[in-house]
């Protein structure tokens, strides 16, 4: 069972929910759930789960290096690169590593075989054990590098769950490629939102990802301060169950600012997270059954 925790809008509480869900399930599941922090541009789940990292591995993509002695500046590489990561400018062929997606088309199609592909490090993946025996892995994108997707893909392939082990994925904010890469393959998408027009705007986009990838989804409303009618009616219209509501409380904000998980600040939430997981399991099974019937 893979639960991805996403939001669209940043700062709604993805990591708050993901880490407390992991801690609550660690109490009742053996092995403890595997936690993957896929927010590689700004990973922060370690602040709450406090892992000790035991292993770290560089992640890179293959980028082209042009042998100027063989290059005839025919421009074929620049023509086929849809990311404009390689350009032929008069008698020079320039590579822009930060735009390169590492597809290898330029090297494969160079008529002079003047392009060699070399690894270019863009970040690392690392793993260790966190609080309550939670296996914890994360990716970290190097500062200044723009491309998160290769690290997220590597992280998900590098550290795999044991059979039957629950996986909790902390997804990056937004709704672009890194989010899709993190969410892909999940059995359930938990969408954390806040009762604001901005929160709702991005929830709509995130819900579209769930629909597009055919992943059942549910909503957690964080920092609730009275009902927000537009949000309620959106969830109803989209058949998105509201699985948890967390009130706007200063004590919770203070605890989180100190690096405490929600279930430490409010221990009574542990049971609520466990119940929510039971609902997630049920919803996911209903979806699987429905798919089988359709087939």
């Amino acid at each position: 069972m893979i639960v991805a925790v996403a939001s669209g809008k940043g700062g709604t509480g993805k990591t708050t929910i993901a880490t407390s869900l992991a801690l609550s399930l660690a109490v009742e599941q053996s092995p403890a759930p595997l936690f993957l922090d896929c927010d590689v541009e700004a990973p922060n789940a370690h602040l709450f789960l406090k892992p000790t990292f035991k292993q770290s591995e560089p992640v890179g993509i293959l980028i082209p290096v042009v042998d100027e002695a063989c290059c005839t500046h025919c421009g074929r590489c620049a023509e086929i690169c849809q990311y404009h990561a390689i350009a032929v400018l008069g008698k020079k062929t320039l590579v822009f590593p930060q735009l390169c997606h590492g597809c290898g088309s330029c090297a494969a199609l160079c008529p002079e075989k003047a392009i060699e592909e070399v690894p270019n490090k863009i970040g690392v993946v690392e793993h260790g054990t966190a609080r309550d025996g939670i296996p914890f892995a994360r990716g970290v994108l190097d500062v200044g590098e723009p491309m998160a997707v290769p690290i997220i893909r590597r992280l998900k392939n590098w550290f795999r769950p044991q059979p039957g082990q629950t996986v909790i994925v902390d997804v990056p904010p937004g709704t672009s490629c890194p989010v899709v890469a993190a969410v892909r393959g999940a059995d359930f998408l938990l969408l954390v939102t806040e009762p604001t027009p901005f929160g709702l705007h991005d929830l709509r986009l995130a819900a579209q990802i769930a629909r597009e990838l055919e992943i059942p989804a549910g909503v957690v409303i964080n920092r609730e301060n009275g009902r927000f009618a537009d949000l309620e009616s959106f969830c109803e219209a989209e058949h998105l169950p509201i699985l948890m509501r967390i009130p706007f409380e200063r004590a919770i904000a203070e605890g989180i600012a100190r690096g405490q998980a929600l279930v430490e600040i409010r221990p009574e939430y542990q049971e609520r997270f466990q119940e929510m997981f039971a609902q997630i399991l049920a919803a996911s099974q209903t979806m699987t059954t429905a798919r089988e019937i359709i087939k």
Partner: protein
Amino acid sequence: MSLKRCQVKAMKIILTATSPALDAEVDPRFGRGVYLLVVDPDTMEWEAHPNPGLNAPGGAGIQAAQFVTEHKAGAAISGDFGPHAFEALRAAGISMHVYGNCRTVRDAIERFKAGHLEQVGTATHGECDEGHHG
């Protein structure tokens, strides 16, 4: 002096413009300028091309720089050159000039010919700002 004169004669320049006309307002963005105007400053003959990278998700400045080299221009004039465009144009040996307070393309060409347009030696805006990547 005569040699320099000769070089100037042969050199085309490329400017970014908001519409396809010599009296168009300048477009301050190099990679994202709406039109690229290829101008012969001596004869004032010109042609306008839609910017190839206008809606590209990334690498727009590089595409515009390639356009400049393909048209064998010696100088590029715009309001702003990003780091990738700057690197590409510098590699191609193309001089870069900024509009400053020029309002129209024609105005900029006149000032360029008089040697009054500032030439830039570094990128005029910050690190990578291509938006999101796939």
